[in-house]
């Protein structure tokens, strides 16, 4: 047992659901107790999704506990098959169902006999893997299934596309700025003259999966999601993959150079050096920002970075290598992939922290007292408590991290966005600091306008107590409205009764 107040990565089934709900016309059925379909709320609220999230539950209740699911799971699968005619139904085990040890594969096999669409059981162990690992595994599982199916039917297309082409693997729902990154990466590929063969899983249909082998290479923008699929495709079809996250000016260039190498090895004969040069020096503002005097002011400022592997590693390198900021500590919660992280960031920071314990990270930040933090929503709150500004760079995230405006982290536009994020975090910190030295923008007594400034009305003690229970941000309004109500009626004292009466009358 572990005492936990907060967690960075969610449970395994969330990963599976993220993959299933990313595809078009794929439905997930969770074998779960009532209330475990919270994923739908997150999808609907965080992504402001217009469509119903294609996830339902086959409810595990007392009867299931006593007698087993029996026909229930099979019925739910076949029912959903009829109602929505999905191409694929993914039966998703949860932590509860995995300890019931029912033979879910058997249910899937039986349901398959009556279903038009395909049925799969997500192969993830809830007590061994987290959301990210499960997502990686589920994507690979679905790809493998459809490649095998196409091969069996003899529908697997032969050979590569005529022009150089790419599969972008790992864009998913509820991923940090994934939608914007996807757009930016497609734009980058277009600029490089590379056709996008497929983007998976986001927005893809399972039908398209059989075309994956036609791509010249696979691009895996995120360390956490897509590598298993890429490895599978490499093993089966020899498709090479590029696993460098194009995040930051230097890494984007490195990614493009590797793409060049991979394509030329297949006889493409491309040279992207001029493109990289043009983008770096004149198009992206980030390189110029590094040289400008604004960024000079950031030299040697202390920062702490924490997040998933992809974003924390990329940010650490950007801050240290491209902006001259002193990264005292870089950390990740991807414990299962810690070695990679260490290798990536060791030369760019003083210390590395691998932990899933938000308390430990909070303590480290308090000890280091950086000028800015780049982390998850949790670090943002640590920053709030310690009065240190924080830029959010990785999940877990809140609704404000699903911006409507175009905010990629990848590619050249991504470098601009990151520069803004970094700069805004530090200047805010600086301004705060100056405010403290000079004692605020406006040191004069605040002159309150309005009728409640010097009130002629007395508040009884219990009314005052009651007023103080009203949340701070509306208390002033409640006070004003109540006093106005009392004044209109010629009352000189405000009692509990008057407060309630005012509320009833004017909604004070």
């Amino acid at each position: 047992m572990k005492l936990a107040y907060w967690m960075y990565a969610g449970p395994a089934h969330i990963g599976t659901l993220r993959i299933a709900s990313s595809f078009k016309n794929v439905h997930a059925i969770m074998h779960a107790p009532l209330g475990d379909d919270y994923f739908n709320v997150m999808r609907s609220m965080l992504e402001r999704e217009r469509n119903f999230t294609p996830v339902t539950a086959s409810i595990v209740d007392r009867n299931v506990l006593a007698r087993g699911s029996q026909e229930k799971v099979v019925d739910n699968i076949t029912r959903k098959d009829k109602e929505e005619t999905p191409d694929l139904i993914v039966l998703t085990p949860t932590c509860t169902s995995s300890i019931l040890q029912e033979d879910l594969q058997n249910f899937v096999d039986r349901a398959q006999m009556d279903c038009q669409g395909d049925v799969l059981l997500a192969d993830v162990n809830h007590y061994r893997v987290n959301e990210l690992q499960a997502a990686d595994r589920t994507l690979q599982q679905i790809v493998e299934y459809y490649i095998a199916k196409a091969r069996k039917k003899g529908e697997l297309p032969e050979g590569k596309t005529e022009k150089p082409s790419v599969n972008i693997i790992g864009i998913s729902t509820l991923g940090f700025h994934n939608q914007h990154d996807s757009t930016e990466l497609k734009r980058l590929m277009a600029d490089l003259g590379i056709e996008v063969n497929a983007v998976i899983p986001d927005g893809a249909t399972v039908e398209e999966l059989k075309n994956l082998p036609r791509a010249w290479f696979n691009l895996i923008p995120y360390r956490e999601l897509g590598r298993m699929t890429a490895q599978y495709l490499e093993k089966e079809f020899g498709t090479p993959s590029v696993e460098i996250t194009p995040m930051g000016v230097v890494e984007t260039a490195r990614c493009i150079r590797q793409i060049q190498q991979v394509l030329n090895a297949q006889g493409a004969n491309v040279d992207y050096e001029d493109f990289i040069n043009e983008q770096t020096l004149y198009v992206s503002q980030a390189a110029w920002f590094s040289r400008s005097i604004d960024c000079q002011n950031l030299t040697g400022k202390k920062a702490v970075v924490f997040g998933d592997n992809t974003h924390a590693a990329a940010m650490t390198k950007i801050l240290a290598r491209e902006m001259g900021i002193h990264v005292v500590m870089a950390g990740t919660y991807c414990k299962y992939d810690a070695e990679w992280f260490r290798n990536e960031v060791s030369e760019y920071c003083d210390e590395v922290l691998i932990s899933e314990d938000n308390g430990e990270i909070g303590d480290a930040i308090a000890r280091i007292e950086p000028a800015a933090i780049f982390g998850t929503q949790m670090e943002r709150h640590v920053g709030k408590r310690l009065d240190i500004p924080c830029g959010v760079i990785a999940s877990p995230i809140h609704i404000q991290n699903f911006p409507i405006g175009y905010k990629p982290f990848c590619g050249y536009e991504g470098t601009n966005q990151i520069a803004d994020l970094v700069y805004n975090s530090f200047t805010l910190g600086m301004e705060d600091h100056l405010l403290e030295i000079f004692g605020g923008h406006d040191t004069k007594e605040v002159i309150t306008k309005g009728i409640s400034a010097d009130s002629d009305l007395g508040w009884t003690k219990e009314a005052q107590v009651e007023l103080n229970k009203v949340p701070g941000f509306v208390r002033g309004k409640v006070k004003r409205n109540t006093e106005k109500f009392a004044r209109d009626r010629g009352l000189s004292e405000i009692t509990l009764e008057v407060m309630y009466a005012a509320k009833e009358a004017v909604g004070a």
């Binding site: 047992m1 572990k2 005492l3 936990a4 107040y5 907060w6 967690m7 969610g10 449970p11 089934h13 969330i14 779960a32 107790p33 009532l34 209330g35 475990d36 379909d37 919270y38 739908n40 709320v41 997150m42 609907s44 609220m45 999704e49 217009r50 469509n51 119903f52 999230t53 339902t56 086959s58 409810i59 595990v60 209740d61 007392r62 506990l65 739910n76 949860t94 932590c95 509860t96 300890i99 809830h126 007590y127 061994r128 949790m378 709150h381 709030k384 809140h398 009884t460 003690k461 219990e462 107590v465 009651e466 229970k469 009203v470 509990l496 309630y500 509320k503 009833e504 009358a505 909604g507």
Partner: protein, 463 residues
């Protein structure tokens, strides 16, 4: 399917139970805030933790007095000793927070692996010197607000049974607060205190609402001897055999049963004080039990209705559809029908026809008074079927969970997120406005946008 015993015009149905609701462990979110000296330990898996952390949004960062005892593979396979593990965590909690009570919330996992929380608690309680209350608020058995019911039912067993004279003063904290700073004559003006049997109210409400309802009863000369739960665990009310108890929320049937059977209290079965009609009926029922003639209630209710008129104009004649997820549905539907709405369907997770009997009777009466058809009550609804019915019936307002709200809005259907009713102050005369503020918000918002032609924002909408 209709009720067998008593013939009723109410029409009950039961579907598949494939519906969206919150897991009952969510009750820790409001109970830890209500009971200030408590600590809630949810014994479950990452799934439970993930739900709590996301459902409670910002609250999670405010050093909450709750945590997960996250079960690991060794716990599931019994390689680790439950007692030792819980002891280790509870000692840590004692050291860091020193609470007056630790509430263990059992989850689906503890049910399945049959962890004997009720058996472990008394032993550990004696060893570490902090009371431990166990509640099985799991998704196998319960929905959303029923979580509070399981906690309060456990707590009912911990209420002291005899008042110690010296403590009497402290236990009357609410009464003292109400009289604080008032002259003797003022108090006398309210109504003479009638000598009645002690009355304890149950249900967790925000403190301002507690004060408000207590005051309403005081006006009728009724003293509330205590509330379950109180602000602090150490202030739990005394319960003696023969005390009267009355519920303030429709989802507290287990608590009611416990109070009757285990504590030998007498339950006053009344409609719930939600909306001015409900509040009046609630007070009248309590008065009638104590043989008191209620004073001035009719005028008070009329006054409230008058003040609500601006909101009621927006919804009069419109229809509402409850998908059902928090058990407040019957009371809210009854109030909205009284406001002039029609209701096609009341979805509800679980329907205790005995505990809610008075509320159901009032619903029926309200429908007859208003001359509208009696809604169908669908227990354990099926969300998929409900959405098909919503497409057919085209209600003016759907009260639903967040999983469905945005997709319905995108299809041009007005929705109100049901969970807000659980967290807003909706009880008593004073808060009737708040219910309508919530219920009319989508209509007011969409009125503002109505000329833009932006209703259906999905292609090939099925509607």
């Amino acid at each position: 399917m209709t009720v067998a015993q008593e013939p009723s015009a109410l029409n009950f149905d039961c579907e598949t139970g494939n519906y969206h609701t919150f897991c009952p462990i969510s009750c820790v979110a409001w109970l830890y805030q209500k009971i200030e000296d408590s600590f809630f330990l949810v014994i479950g898996t990452k799934t439970c933790g993930y739900f709590l952390q996301n459902a409670m949004g910002v609250m999670i960062f405010a050093e909450p007095r709750y945590a997960m005892a996250e079960l690991e593979e060794g716990d599931i396979s019994a390689q680790l000793n439950d007692y030792e593990e819980l002891k280790r965590l509870c000692l840590q909690i004692k050291r860091d927070r020193n609470p007056s009570v630790i509430v263990w919330i059992g989850t689906c996992t503890t049910e399945i692996i049959k962890m004997d929380l009720e058996g472990l608690a008394p032993k550990l309680e004696a060893e570490i010197g902090i009371p431990i209350v166990t509640a099985r608020a799991n998704g196998l058995d319960y929905a959303f607000t029923q979580g509070e019911d399981t906690v309060l039912a456990s707590m009912a067993n911990k209420c002291p049974s005899k008042v110690v004279e010296s403590e009497k003063e402290e236990r009357n904290a609410i009464k003292k607060l109400l009289n604080f700073g008032r002259k003797k004559e003022d108090i006398a003006q309210d109504a003479e205190d009638v000598n009645h049997h002690p009355l304890v109210l149950f249900g967790s409400l925000p403190d301002p609402v507690v004060t408000n309802l207590t005051l309403e009863l005081k006006k009728q000369g009724i003293n509330v001897s205590g509330w379950l739960p109180a602000k602090r665990y150490t202030e739990l009310p005394t319960l003696e055999e023969g005390y009267y108890v009355c519920g303030v929320n429709p989802f507290l049937s287990r608590t009611a049963t416990t109070l009757m059977r285990r504590r030998k209290c007498k339950l006053i079965g009344a409609p719930f004080p939600i909306g001015p009609d409900g509040t009046r009926a609630w007070i009248e029922k309590i008065c009638s039990v104590f043989g008191i003639e209620p004073q001035g209630l009719e005028e008070r209710e009329a006054q409230i209705w008058e003040n609500l008129e601006d909101y009621i104009q927006l919804i009069r004649g419109k229809s509402v559809f409850f998908m059902g997820d928090n058990l407040l549905e019957i009371s809210l539907a009854r109030f909205l029908i009284r406001c002039g709405m029609t209701c096609q369907e009341i979805g509800i997770p679980y329907m205790d026809k005995r505990y809610q009997a008075a509320e159901l009777a009032l619903l029926e009466k309200t429908c007859n008074d208003m001359g509208v058809p009696i809604p169908k009550i669908i227990e354990k609804p099926d969300n998929y079927n409900q959405i098909q019915r919503i497409y057919e019936q085209k209600p003016d307002l759907v009260i639903t969970g967040m999983a469905h709200a945005n997709p319905l809005e995108a299809r041009g259907i007005n929705t109100k997120w049901s969970v807000e009713f659980t967290f807003a102050q909706i009880h008593g005369f004073t808060n009737a406005r708040d219910i309508l503020e919530l219920a009319t918000r989508p209509l007011r918002r969409n009125n503002n946008l109505k000329d833009l032609g932006w209703e259906k924002l999905v292609k090939e909408a099925k509607v």
